[in-house]
């Protein structure tokens, strides 16, 4: 892990509160993500982890608080601004184009980097074709990186779950993100798939210097790959620190195991 370079703050969330009607999904949550680190957000079910990711991503608009990304503070961010600003993500429930091939799905991740208008892209001639070839080359590197050459032309809907997750990571990587948000990248995977995925996450962080924020339930994985962890429970931040610190924190143990009331 690249802790030596993880000093500059990439993203700062300040006193974020988000509610849906009377439900308080997030209450006064603040933390930061440093450049080049692997930051995990953990917590029991319904703790507000995905909401937090959706706020960072600009999908939800918090009622209170600010987000500072790359030195620019903003109250609201729209998803396509986030994407243009170098934030890519994967979803808890895979959101790929099922009928399209792996290659095409990953190609869509290049969209923010394509400069030619829809007109040229549709005709696929001249400059648009040249551009597509360049992007295809990048996508092939992603395919090579994730070792999914054998499913290059396979429609994504036919792939097993673990591979679909990998394709989704590929699409996010194709955007060459500065900040990569992973929502439960290892949910529903077997041990071998989890190990593969952990390896790819670490390699992404290592090779491309991508900052990664991930939500994960598997404590073993979190402890292994994160630089720092933030723990949410009922929408509040209850702990923060290195994996070791968090594991020893009494609040965290209580939140996960429950507290006896006597």
């Amino acid at each position: 892990m690249s802790s030596e370079q993880a000093t500059e703050t990439l993203l700062q969330v300040d006193a974020i509160s988000l509610s849906f009607g009377g439900v308080h999904a997030l209450v006064d949550v603040s933390f930061d993500i440093r450049k080049g680190e692997v930051r995990s957000i953990i917590g029991p079910n319904g703790a507000g982890k995905s909401s937090m990711l959706n706020v960072i991503n600009g999908f939800y608009h918090p009622q209170k608080g600010t987000i500072t990304y790359q030195g620019q503070a903003r109250k609201q961010m729209r998803p396509h601004d986030a994407a243009a600003g170098g934030i890519a993500r994967t979803f808890q429930n895979i959101a790929l184009f099922k009928g399209m091939s792996t290659l095409d799905n990953i190609m869509t991740g290049r969209n923010t980097h394509m400069s030619k208008s829809l007109f040229w892209q549709a005709l696929r001639i001249g400059p648009a074709q040249r551009e597509e070839i360049e992007h295809r080359e990048f996508v092939e590197h992603v395919i090579d990186f994730l070792e999914i050459q054998s499913i290059r032309k396979t429609p994504v809907g036919r792939l097993p779950y673990g591979l679909q997750k990998r394709v989704e990571l590929g699409r996010a990587l194709a955007a060459e993100p500065t900040l990569l948000l992973l929502d439960e990248p290892m949910a529903g995977m077997n041990l071998e798939e989890k190990e593969d995925m952990s390896r790819f996450i670490l390699e992404t962080n290592d090779e491309f210097g991508t900052t990664i924020a991930l939500i994960e339930h598997d404590m073993g994985v979190v402890m292994d790959i994160s630089d720092r962890v933030v723990v949410l429970d009922y929408g509040r931040k209850i702990a923060e620190g290195t994996p070791l610190e968090v594991r020893a924190n009494q609040n965290v143990i209580d939140a996960y195991l429950g507290v006896s009331h006597d």
């Binding site: 092939e140 590197h141 395919i143 050459q149 054998s150 290059r152 290592d206």
Partner: protein, 652 residues
């Protein structure tokens, strides 16, 4: 096209030098990378080989040093073999899927100071090995992914070594060539470690002569030319890949393609469309299974077309290929099938251009073998081993059988020992087992005859049949050979029979224990109104006995066709009241029969089979699945099976 008689280099690097004079622009290898087939001309390969050799020599690699190579089939790894050979060193490819300890044995035994590892996975293994084998000085890698943070003093990019080599070659262009000229045909070309089912792997030392002469003979045998397309996808550590892709490729001058990754072989096969193809039986088997499964899922029209034309193919295909007379109507019918079914099917499998295909390693099921041949794929069998540089016998075109493995090709002599063991002598006979003179002496006689450890015989057509491991083969009292596994496998081809144990060593005739297959026989019982409540009851049913008797008599008939095996016909048998079970120690966990335990447990039954009793009481202790012990008792019937007569034998 290169005339093979022209290429008379004594070593592979010398051959490369010669071929570079006129073939430098020819494609020599292809590799699929980033979704595109990248071609390397012979000139490019040569340039990299010399650059790597120069760089390697600069790092202290000298004559007789070994270079362990671990990885999938990659042009650079084949290049690394040539580079080591150029310097008079010895490449030692290791199986890329072995765990670190297994490779450690090879590295240790071969006394390797240098390792070429394809990627991070292999580099990690090599580093793990280095902790135990401090002798390892440097590890070179081809794919830099994930390796940025490794110690550059030990783990080096192969490109860096080549770059330093290029500088040396600029100063002294002859640095490598002069080393190559020192090579002689009797030098060691390669050490291949056999995976070895028992004990430690043995390092088979092969000389350039072994490989070159064998490759030239094999090319001549099947008219292999520079125009072949070959996909190198089997492990580089296996002698077959060395012979088929490396040696025969360099000699004939054909282009060898490397798949993108181990998972993409099927697609790459289809894209390349090889003309010369090798696969072990299990590959052919799994491809056939997937075809059958996909056909079962297909629509009714497609399925019936497939079934119809496969029947036509079975009747006509192999005969057409062997050049036997076929009626005009059958030819037309087969041609129609080729248009509608066989052609598209072969195309999907990537086999439409195959001119020669080989399988070897274990017995291939006759149905599987005939399926491919009936499609018009010239699939043949060969018998060989690492110690022989592959080839001991091969099937010539037109004389292909599913049950035998052909005749010795020119230059190979094969003899059958008194105990039935196959021994051979050929130009491919290995030099020795590396650092293991005892094993060498055990296997190879001073006048170069090699013991295979396999038992076999030449059938009436003069084709070699391999039947068993020699140590398992016994003798009947009339001195004819008794090969239990061969008989058992023959019987197990019947779906009704799950397990068989045959007896006959030092006896007058052969008898058998049969285990019925509950699924197959149960299904048969339902269709034939045979009521039963338990396995034991079904096994003892008279109609089931008749069913099994029929199977045995069919086997007896086919045994009678063969003068060597006609006395191995099964005279008496019984159906066991319980399934042989690993829990009771009767089978190994991999479901191989443990004869010693069976002999102990069922001694009385075996005696009954031979002393003419018509039934025998048996009581066996069994272990139930919940761990409780219990006893099963039964009175088993013993049946006689008809033995085919001498007359049939004479006719055959």
């Amino acid at each position: 096209m290169v005339d093979s008689s022209e290429s008379q280099g004594q070593t592979f690097p010398q051959l490369l030098l010669q071929r570079l004079n006129h073939d430098a622009e020819r494609p020599a290898m292809r590799e699929k990378a980033y979704g595109i087939w990248q071609t390397w001309t012979l000139g490019q390969i040569g340039e990299e080989v010399f650059a790597f050799a120069a760089g390697l020599s600069n790092l202290g690699f000298t004559r007789n040093d070994t270079l362990v190579i671990i990885g999938d089939n990659r042009p650079r790894l084949y290049g690394a073999m040539l580079a080591a050979q150029s310097l008079g060193g010895v490449p030692v490819p290791a199986y890329q899927d072995s765990v670190a300890q297994e490779i450690q044995y090879v590295v240790d035994h071969a006394e390797a100071r240098f390792i070429v590892a394809e990627n991070q996975e292999q580099v990690d293994k090599a580093l793990e090995i280095r902790e135990q084998c401090p002798r390892v000085e440097r590890i070179f890698y081809c794919d830099p992914k994930g390796l940025r943070k490794y110690d550059p003093q030990i783990v080096m990019d192969i490109q860096t070594v080549m770059a330093s080599g290029r500088e040396i070659l600029e100063a002294n262009a002859e640095a490598v060539v002069s080393e190559i000229q020192k090579g002689a045909g009797s030098d060691t070309a390669i050490i291949l470690y056999t995976s070895g089912t028992t004990g430690r792997p043995k390092g088979v030392v092969l000389s350039y002569e072994n490989l070159l002469v064998t490759a030239r003979n094999a090319n001549a045998f099947d008219q292999i030319t520079a125009d072949e397309e070959v996909l190198a996808y089997l492990p580089m550590a296996w002698v077959g890949d060395n012979a088929f892709s490396f040696a025969m490729g360099l000699v004939a001058g054909f282009c060898v393609s490397c798949p993108e990754s181990a998972d993409t072989v099927a697609q790459d096969l289809r894209e390349i469309g090889p003309t010369f193809y090798f696969a072990p039986p299990r590959v052919f088997e799994s491809v056939l299974t997937s075809v059958i499964i996909r056909m079962k899922d297909a629509g009714r029209l497609k399925r019936s077309l497939f079934d119809h034309f496969m029947k036509v193919a079975k009747k006509t295909g192999a005969a057409l290929m062997d050049g036997q007379p076929v009626s005009t109507w059958d030819r037309f019918h087969y041609g129609l099938g080729e248009l509608m079914i066989y052609g598209p099917l072969k195309n999907t499998l990537g086999l439409s251009r195959v001119r020669v295909a080989y399988t070897a390693g274990e017995a291939i099921g006759p149905e599987i073998f005939e399926f491919y041949r009936s499609l018009g794929i010239n699939l043949k069998q060969l018998y060989g081993q690492t110690e022989a540089t592959v080839f001991i016998t091969m099937q010539p075109d037109g004389l292909v059988r599913s049950e035998s493995v052909g005749t010795p090709p020119p230059g190979v002599e094969v003899r059958i020992e008194d105990n039935g063991e196959v021994v051979y002598r050929s130009p491919g006979v290995f030099k020795e087992y590396f650092k293991n003179p005892e094993a060498t002496a055990e296997t190879k006689t001073p006048d170069n005859w090699v013991h295979t450890g396999d038992a076999g015989y030449f059938d009436d057509e003069g084709h070699l049949r391999i039947i068993d491991r020699a140590k398992d083969v016994g003798k009947l009292t009339d001195d004819s050979m008794f090969a239990p596994k061969f008989l058992e496998n023959k019987l197990k081809f019947f779906p009704e029979i799950k397990e068989v144990v045959t007896f006959g060593d030092q006896r007058d005739f052969v008898t058998a224990f049969i285990n019925i297959d509950l699924d197959a026989v149960g299904n048969w019982a339902e269709r034939n109104n045979v009521a039963y409540a338990s396995y034991q009851e079904l096994a003892a049913h008279a109609k089931v006995y008749t069913l099994i008797q029929d199977c045995i008599e069919q086997v007896n008939q086919s045994l009678a066709q063969d003068s060597h095996l006609s006395s191995s016909q099964i005279r008496r048998f019984l159906i066991l009241h319980k399934e042989l079970d690993p829990d009771d120690g009767e089978l190994t966990r991999t479901r191989k029969v443990r004869r010693r335990i069976i002999n102990e447990r069922y001694g009385d039954l075996i005696d009954a089979l031979f002393d003419g009793r018509e039934n025998c009481f048996v009581s066996t202790e069994v272990m139930f699945e919940d761990g409780r012990q219990g006893r099963i008792e039964a009175d088993l019937e013993i049946r006689e099976a008809a033995v085919s007569s001498e007359r049939v034998r004479a006719a055959a």
